[in-house]
Structures are given as structure tokens and as C-alpha cells.
Amino acid sequence: MRGGTAPMPLADVGDLSWSWNIGADLQGLFAYHFMVNAFRAGTIVAIAAAVIGWFMVIRGESFVGHTLALVGFPGAAGATLLGVSATFGFFVFSIAAALIIALLPRGNSVRGFSEESAVVGTVQAAALASGFLFISLYHGFLNGVNALLFGSFLGVTDSQVLTLFVLGAAAVIILALTGRPLLFASIDGDVAAANGVPVRWLSSLFLVLLGVAAAEASQITGTLLVFALLVVPAATAQILTPHPLKSLALAVGLGLGITWAGLTAAYYSPYPVGFFITSFAFAAYLLVRIGQGHPWRRAFQHEAKQAPA
């Protein structure tokens, strides 16, 4: 995420303004190696986060994904304190937290009050506070806080891209192999269990995959903004089409579009990448939600329903 070797693009501002000469602009975009790496990393992350996020939204585990990303923050800050790559810290902490959640006994709500959300809130605050402790122990790192929390595309190294690729590809392949029973178990757990699907085992495995996806998304959007890549593409695609494979492909497409547009906008402006990615994601979701309730669409659906009859 940060690295002293990356050339800062602020030196020659002349090359860096958006000219609406799209060909030249796109060439300028890839003039620096760090930007090529940013796009490589962004592409890997967008695909992995969209695919795993698609299952997460179906399973209603959005806040688990958010919590796993937040737990990555002290991991990344601690890794920086120890002199290890922040990427390493993100993955170790997010996956470890996923394993712990998977091993915990399922909550049987004996008591009347809503303690579960209070526990989640306490764990989140404690994780963020520990991350802050590591950061303040590591002096002179205050700009790094913003990069860890809100994302950064500067200084992604080749080895980080490789790490992201290997882990992301492994997670997506495992998900592809278990996709059918997992979808079955997600939609109707009881029937799936009756049909011999190992529901409990699959949900634990999925939590680990979610930990990988949360850590990957944190690399681009930062710990606090993972919703933009993990939830929004999937939620938007699921509104547009109920067909599983189509909406999965659509989610990947949306994730890639949001990430590429966000990186491009951040490159040609002084504002942070997290702002652009969340804004584009929110705009896409809002457009689809508004379009969904539009009278034209309802009339169209009405006609479509009548036509076969």
C-alpha cells in the first residue's frame, strides 16, 4: 500500500490532467508502473470481492464481512509496527477472525435483549482501538492511518500483486468447486441438510473465504469502505436479475467497472480513491433502486407477465 519506491505522480502535473482525449488519457494512465500495479491489484480484488460478496449478500452476512475487514486494521497496523508488509497483516488477522467466528458456538439467544449487536459493536471498537495503539506506537505513521482505513493505490508492489492473485484465485476456485451445495445451503439450510449437504462445514469454509475477500478488498478501499466492493456490486446485480449465474457475472462486471472508474478518477484528481469508489458504487446502487421502482419498468414487467398467457 505504501512504499518509498513508488514515484509520486504529483511532480509533473502537466501530464496528469484529464483532457477528454480518451486515447491519450488512457496512455497517460499506464505511464507509471505503480499505476499498472494498481490496476492489476484492483482487477483481482474486484473479481474476488464481487464473487464472494455475491454469496455473502445471499447469506445475509454483510456485517460479518464488515467486521472481518475491521479486524484486519489492527493486523495491518501491527504488521507495519513489526516491519512486515501490511498485506500480510490484513490476511492473517481477517482469516484468523473468520476461523474464530466459525468455531464459536452458534448464539442461542436465551436472554431477551439484543446482546449480539452489542458484542459486535464492542469487538469492532476494541479492534479499531488496538489498531490505533499500534499506529501511535509506530511514530510518524499518521498518513498511513488514512491509507489503511480509506484505501490507497500508491506503491502496490509486484509481490503484493502476486499475493493478492494467488489468494484471490484460490478463494474463487474453492468457491467455484463448492458453489452449488453452498447456494443450496444458503437458500434453504434445513432442506439442504436433509439432503446430505454438510451445511455447518460449508458455512465455516465460507467464513474463511469471506475473510480472504475482506482482506483483499481492504487493500483497495481500506478497512472502513469494504462495503463498496463486497456488498454493492452483488446487491445491485441481484436487484437486476434473479438468475444466479447472470447476476454473478453482472456483479463481477459492476465491481470491475466501479474499481477501474474509481482508480482512473483518483489518478486524475487530488482526492482519495476511497471517495470515488464509494461514490460510484453508491450511484450505481441508487440508480438501480430508483429504476426498479420506476413506472415504466413496472409496466414492462406487467406486459412481460401477460405476454406468454
Binding site: L128, F132, S136, N146, A235, G274, F275
Partner: protein, 293 residues
């Protein structure tokens, strides 16, 4: 490790000779009272995530005010209470699902970063530590005036909540019966949302926008584990929040490497963990008569 507190002990006696410690304790007392009392009802009414959302709004509000050259507190309180009331008014039409809430608040945070970038690049007076200060608090950086204001606002929040406690409790436990008995459920809920907004904005000044959730949730959840009766629980929640606040500030003074917001949240989480593990511990020791269901 053992030697450090012993060495610090004589120093602790002189802790209050430092003005910044006095201001920290003044502001912290108001914040802890407000968060402890408001948080109790947040847990009771399952509105913890509302508190989370409002603390995000506090971050964006404070940085928006800074970016446009106003006092951060103006944006902090104004935006947080406005978002709280907006959520209350929208919530009456239909409950938003977690995907919608997550979307809106990820975007709100993104907007906050945008304002942070404007503040740090455009304003010559802007400093790079503004973002971390809003996110993680800067209680030892308060001056006399802002400490007094934080204390007064915290006490005011606490007094309004206590005045509202009876109808709010009734409405929280059984909304339909309360409405039938003539309790103005909607208005009570709306005022309570504004109080969460005030508590979140208050807490954001002391422990920061990201950590205020811990101060709202942990003491309240611990109190509800320890005590069944609501008013005793309410008092205990405020007491535990105060204990975490005073203990955290003292700890941070004794060990300057620990940032105060970390010490406060760590103590609050430890109090909750102790309260959650206490019954299990008793059962292991074998004194608990009740068998688990």
C-alpha cells in the same frame, strides 16, 4: 511491568496539577455519563447499529465543517443530530435493510475522506493529523472552553434522558401497549434518536468517531448482564462507563505510550468480557445453583 505503576504512583497524586488532565476528566465525565445512559437504551431497543451509523455521520460532519472553515463541533453536532432525526422520520415508513444501511454509511465515510482531502490540501492551516484526531479522539488536546462545553452538553443529554426514562422504558419494552396507554411512542423514539446523535457527537470528541461505539455498547451490555432491574441497570451502565473513562485516563497518564482512547475502550471491553465470563466462571467453581437451559 510491575515496577512501572509503582514508580508512577507518587506521580498519580499530582496528576490533577496538569490542566490538560483536569480538562480531560471534566469532558470525559460528561461524555461517559451521556454514553452510559444513552447506550443502555440503545442495547435494550437494539439500536446499537444506529449508534454506529451516527458515529460515522459525526466523522463526516466534523470534517465537512473543517473543510469549509467552520468550527468542527458545529458540523459534529449539527450533522449527527440532523442525520439521527432524518433516520427517525424515514424509519417510520419502513425499516431499511442492512444492505441499504451499509451502502449509505460506506458512502458517508467516503464523503468524509473527501472533505479530509479538501481540508488538508486546500487550507493552509490544515494539518495532516485532523483525520486521525476526529477518528480516534484527542481528549488531552481539549482546552478549558471545549472541556466545559463537553461537560455541560454531556450532563444535559443525561438529564434529558433521565427525564424521558420512564416513557422510553415503557415504549422500549412493549411499544404497542405503551401506545395504547397514551405514551407518545413516536415522539419519544424521535427524541431518543436525537439523544443518540448527541451522545455520539460528544463521544467523538473524546474517544473519536470510530471508537464511540465501544463506549455506547460495552458498559450497557455489561450492565444488562449483571443486573435485571432496568433502573439499577441504567445506573450501573453509567457507573461502568465512568469507571472505564476515569480508569482509562489514569492509565494513559501513568503509561504515556498508551493513547487515552485506546485505554478507555480497552477497559470498557474488559469490563464487558468480565461480566460475560462471570456466570461461566461461577458455574465452573460449582457455586451456581441454576442449571443452564
Amino acid at each position: 511491568m510491575i515496577a512501572a505503576p509503582l514508580n508512577a504512583a507518587p506521580g498519580l497524586l499530582h496528576m490533577f496539577s496538569h490542566p490538560f488532565i483536569r480538562y480531560g476528566f471534566l469532558a470525559g465525565t460528561g461524555v461517559a455519563l451521556a454514553c452510559g445512559l444513552v447506550g443502555y437504551f440503545a442495547v435494550l431497543r437494539s439500536q446499537v447499529f444506529t449508534g454506529d451509523a451516527l458515529s460515522h455521520a459525526a466523522f463526516t460532519g466534523a470534517l465537512a465543517a473543517l473543510a469549509f472553515g467552520f468550527d468542527a463541533r458545529l458540523g459534529l453536532f449539527g450533522v449527527t443530530v440532523a442525520v439521527a432525526l432524518g433516520m427517525g422520520l424515514l424509519g417510520a415508513r419502513g425499516r431499511a435493510d442492512d444492505v441499504v444501511i451499509g451502502n449509505v454509511f460506506a458512502w458517508l465515510l467516503g464523503l468524509g475522506v473527501f472533505f479530509l482531502a479538501i481540508y488538508t490540501t486546500r487550507r493552509s492551516s490544515g494539518n495532516g493529523a485532523a483525520g486521525p484526531a476526529v477518528l480516534f479522539g484527542s481528549i488531552f488536546g481539549l482546552n478549558a472552553g471545549s472541556a466545559r462545553l463537553a461537560l455541560i452538553l454531556g450532563l444535559a443529554t443525561a438529564v434529558v434522558l433521565l427525564a424521558l426514562a420512564r416513557p422510553l422504558l415503557f415504549a422500549s419494552v412493549d411499544e404497542a401497549v405503551a401506545a395504547a396507554q397514551g405514551v407518545p411512542v413516536r415522539i419519544v423514539g424521535l427524541v431518543y434518536l436525537a439523544l443518540i446523535g448527541l451522545a455520539a457527537a460528544e463521544g467523538a470528541q473524546v474517544v473519536g468517531a470510530l471508537l464511540v461505539l465501544g463506549l455506547l455498547a460495552a458498559p450497557a451490555a455489561a450492565a444488562q448482564r449483571l443486573v435485571e432491574r432496568p433502573y439499577a441497570g441504567l445506573a450501573l451502565s453509567a457507573g461502568l462507563a465512568l469507571a472505564a473513562m476515569w480508569g482509562g485516563l489514569t492509565l494513559s497518564y501513568a503509561a504515556p505510550k498508551l493513547p487515552p482512547s485506546f485505554a478507555i475502550i480497552a477497559l470498557a471491553s474488559a469490563i464487558y468480557a468480565a461480566a460475560a465470563l462471570l456466570p461461566r466462571l461461577r458455574r465452573v467453581v460449582g457455586q451456581g445453583g441454576a442449571s443452564p437451559p
